[in-house]
Symmetry: C2
């Protein structure tokens, strides 16, 4: 592991230094939020891609969890300090983590820290994907804010469990599906498809999916080229019939889905190249 750890209000600390106390709600209850962004190293130096957008979503996650608003200037300064200290070439991921506080001392602050971790520099491999049900309908989150839809919370145990299930079944990734038969998102990525010449992604409203920063950036950059991205629920069959489909994230970029539940999917090299270029991968 090549990793850097920095604590808000402290700065860079040794990677193996414990930073979370036993009473912290983050470790006790998964009660906190995070965000993850790509760290880009190139001829211009090291920087964080779409940092403003990731910080904004980090703030929205705080708000949806009724946590005190984060001091984004302090977080930005900590990111600057960490990036200045990061000297590992190649791809890396920045992760920001903030917990609600301590369980039995509500006035005490919780852990607030970031990590930068070196990641695989290879282009994203083609993905064989299975669908796994969430047990919920596509509108389950519409009037149920307590289900924490759209929050990048620390309670990601199910997202890790589905990745285990994928490995167990010998495939690469998972697409969450609803009881009413729609595709949502991957456990750590958003869904985009090209259907009848139109870029289609999952609606955020009511579905509980995360508002993908990378898909948001693609939406804006496609719009600059006069290409529209629409929000529409797709079925697994619809995805199998699409011209192409991708799982997209800040960490891995734009990954072709080449099979869904064992059925082959078409790919579109031109569209994939366009999206990778626009996303900077």
């Amino acid at each position: 592991m090549t990793q850097l750890v920095a604590v808000l209000g402290v700065g860079v600390v040794p990677t193996d230094a414990p930073v979370v106390t036993a009473d912290d709600l983050g470790i006790n209850r998964g009660d906190g939020v995070f965000d993850a962004a790509r760290v880009v190293s190139d001829a211009d130096g090291v920087r964080v891609d779409l940092l403003d957008e990731h910080l904004a979503r980090f703030g929205r996650s705080h708000e949806k969890m009724a946590m005190a608003a984060p001091d984004l200037d302090a977080w930005r300064a900590l990111v600057d300090e960490a990036v200045a200290a990061w000297d590992v070439p190649g791809e890396a991921v920045l992760k920001l983590i903030a917990t609600r506080g301590l369980e039995h001392a509500p006035a005490a602050p919780g852990a607030s820290f970031l990590t930068i971790t070196a990641s695989d520099t290879a282009p994203c491999p083609p993905l064989r994907v299975i669908t796994l049900g969430t047990g919920r309908a596509s509108d389950a989150f519409a009037d149920a804010p307590w289900l924490l839809g759209g929050v990048k919370s620390l309670s990601y145990g199910v997202n890790v469990a589905v990745a285990r299930e994928a490995r167990r079944r010998g495939v690469d990734d998972v697409l969450f599906t609803t009881t009413d038969g729609y595709c949502l998102e991957g456990p750590r990525s958003g869904l985009l498809a090209l259907v009848d010449g139109v870029y289609v992604t999952t609606p955020v409203e009511g579905t509980g999916i995360l508002d993908s920063v990378t898909i948001g950036a693609l939406r804006a950059r496609l719009a600059e080229q006069g290409i529209t991205m629409v929000d529409r629920l797709l079925t697994p069959d619809g995805l199998v019939g699409a011209e192409a489909a991708w799982l997209i994230s800040a960490g891995r970029g734009v990954c072709d889905i080449v099979a869904l539940d064992g059925k082959p999917l078409r790919t579109d090299a031109e569209a994939s190249a366009l999206l990778r270029g626009l996303a900077g991968f």
Copy 2:
């Protein structure tokens, strides 16, 4: 806060000593398990109620999460050491926490520690409760182990969020309900009701609820008196029509539900006293 912290393989440490590193999957992903038991202080000294049963469930949670089996003898020794060091009179709660490991160094062990925390010694107050939907049907977990039904995992963010929603609505607690109209459990307690003279609790199988250690103990002790407890799904209306209903946990014991969504519930002082006596509260 009056709290004791002890780390597996280390022993008792200062309460404010950080014990979890930044790369630990427990803090990064809520990827780990816990269990909680009552610490009893009386004339015989300090001991943990139903420790064997809680350790057994802790082991089952590891298994359902595909984590390596815990060394329960080592945990038991750590509990003994912590209890011997605990000198605060009154009620307390023991919590065991174990994470899967580190995210980027899979061979490294994750955090494994316990806390003992002083808790309210008053008898459990009567509870005004609201129902909040899980967005899932009562059989949603039957064929979906990746949803982590029945696991006391660290991804408890929703359980904390519903408690916030209850406070916002001016009530004391929450009863989770399903899309097909059944009652499940509280966010930190199990459900028991007395219906037509029969003790009824929520079935564990398929519903994803936690197998309550305290309700399990009550089931065995009622059986010794020739009283049967049955597993059956109840509707909110069924609960409102019951002779009595309780939310039950190791920490708080047997709490009367006195209102559900604003409708008054009957209570049964004799049954409550029987249950409290059998549970040792």
